[in-house]
């Protein structure tokens, strides 16, 4: 089943990280460019510390990587991790397609 291919721990962190709209927005921005944490912080109506915390959650889930450049921390989205989340959704789809097919057989 789908859990096996992802590893349960990683899976939970991944979805917890993705469950927040601000974090999903951060992912989008950091896929398009490689902003610093302070640049990112300017984009949201919240404190620098709050944005930093969101970035930390994403980093723990393996969705972004941070790279120190001079005095700045640059944040970049890890495409591979985002792909894992997409595959999990694909698995969910195929699980339900199978279920609906079996329901359909039972109703025949």
């Amino acid at each position: 089943m789908f859990v096996d291919c992802l590893g349960a721990m990683a899976f939970d962190e991944l979805f917890r990280a993705l469950a927040d709209p601000t974090r999903r927005d951060i992912l989008r921005r950091c896929a398009a460019s490689e902003p610093s944490v302070s640049r990112l912080a300017q984009a949201y109506p919240m404190s620098f510390a709050a944005v930093q915390k969101h970035v930390a959650v994403l980093e723990r889930a393996g969705l972004v990587t941070k790279e120190r450049r001079g005095r700045e921390q640059l944040v970049q989205t890890d495409r591979g991790a985002v792909d894992r989340a997409r595959r999990a959704l694909d698995e969910l789809e195929s699980t339900w397609r199978g279920r609906v097919d079996r329901m359909s057989d039972l109703l025949r």
């Binding site: 089943m1 859990v3 979805f15 969910l92 199978g98």
Partner: protein, 162 residues
């Protein structure tokens, strides 16, 4: 093949399936409400399901296990959040210990089902989405509440250090 359409929303990690059946609405509802029927379609091929508890009421639970080809068993539990026969059902599905306690750190999904009459048949819409662990901590019990209080305590400590 009765799946009419599938919509995948990668942004919100949601899959929505629409299926049309040539039978009256009650027969479709029974696939969910009758545990003997439910166990005939819930498990994937090779993993037949056995429904042990089936309480279709708000806050009710459905406990099941799936038996694999090696005799391996995989337990799961639903927590029903809303039920209105024969048209709607909402529940959270989690992997569970043998006693039905949800397992920490395993994926949880929320499923919303809508069933309506349509042109002499029945249309069923299933919307499945991944749930964050935080969402479902509320139903795991006191352990999590303590965990939350601990976390709040830590935030307080940070503010004091400020």
């Amino acid at each position: 093949m009765s799946v009419t359409s599938v919509d995948k929303d990668y942004e919100n990690l949601t899959v929505t399936l629409i299926a049309d059946f040539d039978v009256p609405i009650d027969q479709v509802w029974e696939l969910w409400s009758d545990p003997r029927k439910l166990e005939r379609w819930w498990g994937p091929p090779g993993y037949p399901a056995t429904v042990e508890t089936h309480d279709f009421a708000p806050d009710g639970q459905v406990k099941y296990l799936m038996t694999g080809p090696e005799g391996d068993t995989h337990h799961g539990v639903w927590r029903v959040t809303a039920v209105d026969p024969p048209t709607s059902l909402e529940f959270t599905d989690a992997f569970a210990e043998t006693d039905g306690t949800p397992i920490a750190d395993m994926p949880v999904s929320t499923i919303r089902v809508r069933i309506v009459d349509r042109e002499g048949g029945t249309r069923m819409e299933v919307c499945a989405t991944f749930e964050s662990r935080e969402e479902m901590d509320t139903w795991v019990g006191t352990g999590s509440v303590e965990g939350l209080q601990e976390a709040v305590g830590q935030i307080d400590a940070l503010l004091v250090q400020g």
